[in-house]
């Protein structure tokens, strides 16, 4: 914790930045400032996206209104994948450069990523009922999401099972890195398996050819999800920082001041 004070004097602008980024108190202040900003932007975008998606966009000529769940489903699926990648990057940075803040970022991302994954699965199965007549179909994308959910759960279970927080962060970082390089392979193998067994073409969510009035709300919702994600990560990071740094002076001053 105090290693930042005892480390050799940094040289050059990059190291100043790097050092500031490694300072928990500075990151705490930064997150406190930006969490509500991201949150409010997300609220506005959510409102706009839902209005555009549920009211303005026309119904699909094949699926009717049920397609509208893509405004939740597709951004969730995107975010679930990219948050696993972000988590792995943060964990890797923490592992290689011994940057505690990066470990905490990875730790903050994990439950959010799992939530997005679950959201994608849940909305996918809701959409499946009117489309395929059943809540669950072994569609390639849904299957990949299911495996991704297992990966998130494994990550969280490992980091919860190890008592020492630093060891937990480093061990789960290894797992996240192994997971993230395996993810494309898993994705590919599931696609491969799916094309072999499905045979007929299945209507997929979020086809590339979309009416502009349908596409714009999707992009707005995608932005809303991203801002929500950023705000939520900042908020969770604040909690992790306070817990992790609870014995340091700046947290004590914050608590008593």
């Amino acid at each position: 914790m105090s290693s930042n004070n005892t480390a050799p004097a940094p040289t050059g602008r990059r190291w100043v930045w790097f050092h500031r980024f490694g300072s928990p108190a500075w990151i705490y202040g930064f997150s406190t400032r930006w969490a509500p900003v991201c949150g409010w932007i997300a609220v506005v975008l959510f409102a706009a996206g839902l209005y555009l998606g549920l009211v303005v966009a026309p119904p699909d000529y094949q699926m009717g209104d049920s397609y509208r769940i893509i405004y939740i489903h597709v951004p969730s699926a995107w975010l679930s994948m990219s948050s696993y990648a972000a988590m792995a990057v943060a964990a890797g940075v923490g592992l290689v450069w011994h940057l505690k803040v990066a470990d905490l970022v990875a730790r903050s991302i994990a439950p959010l990523g799992a939530m997005f994954t679950f959201c994608a699965l849940f909305t996918g199965s809701l959409w499946g009922k009117p489309t395929w007549g059943t809540y669950w179909v072994w569609d390639a994308r849904l299957t990949s999401e299911l495996v991704l959910l297992f990966l998130f759960i494994g990550y969280m279970a490992l980091s919860a099972a190890i008592e020492d927080r630093r060891t937990a962060a480093r061990a789960s970082a290894i797992l996240a890195l192994v997971g993230v390089i395996n993810l494309p392979i898993i994705h590919f193998s599931v696609e491969w398996w799916n094309t072999l067994h499905q045979g007929s073409t299945v209507t997929q969510l979020g086809r590339p050819t979309m009416d502009t009035r349908m596409l714009v709300p999707l992009l707005v919702m995608f932005l809303a999800f991203n801002f929500y994600f950023a705000g939520a990560v900042f908020n969770r990071l604040r909690g992790e920082l306070l817990h992790h740094e609870r014995r340091t002076r700046w947290v004590q001053e914050l608590a008593h001041g």
Binding site: S3, D164, R247
Partner: protein
Amino acid sequence: MLNRPAPFPDENRLEATEIECLRGFQSLFRSLSLAVEAGVGLQVRGANGSGKTSLLRILCGLALAESGSVFWNGLDIRKSAAEYRAQISYLGHRPALKGELTPRENLDVLGALHGRRPDGRRIDEILEAVGIKRRHERPSRTLSAGQQQRTALARVMLSDAPLWILDEPATALDDPGIGTLRTALRGHLDRGGLVIFTSHQPLLDTGELREIRLPGTHD
């Protein structure tokens, strides 16, 4: 008995600076510095739970210190890890013997892992020196705790490493066993080796012995 081996280089030196070690959120010790040169034994003292084992594990590179560095001949051991590992032999709480294998087989493998495969005659000599006779050629799990500790000691002696890091090497040893251990330690220091150890018993004469005491609640 053992023929006299070649002396180690005089300039060997282990140095640790400003080591801090945490257990959970509790600081076991901080700003701890120490140095050991060729021919010197360092006894680490402290109460139970004061972090003696943690310190030894940090010194041999198994555990990471919260802050601070360890240098072998001026090089940070994290930067030259493989070279450093070739210079040390560590005896931990557990003897690192496979119960299914005989002491001889155990030493054969551990020797090979430490660099080169030791020749059989040397293993026999060393086993005999620590009091494990040929008739004890049976699975290590049938040996007593003391005999296992003697075998572990034999492994350290076999390694030909200049720096010995021994965590409670006298555990489970009887009086003759402790005598053997003393002889081994003295022989190693005479050869220009370095020893860092924890023990509740006096194992070295004061002339060659240095002490460091870890802060603790009592003792």
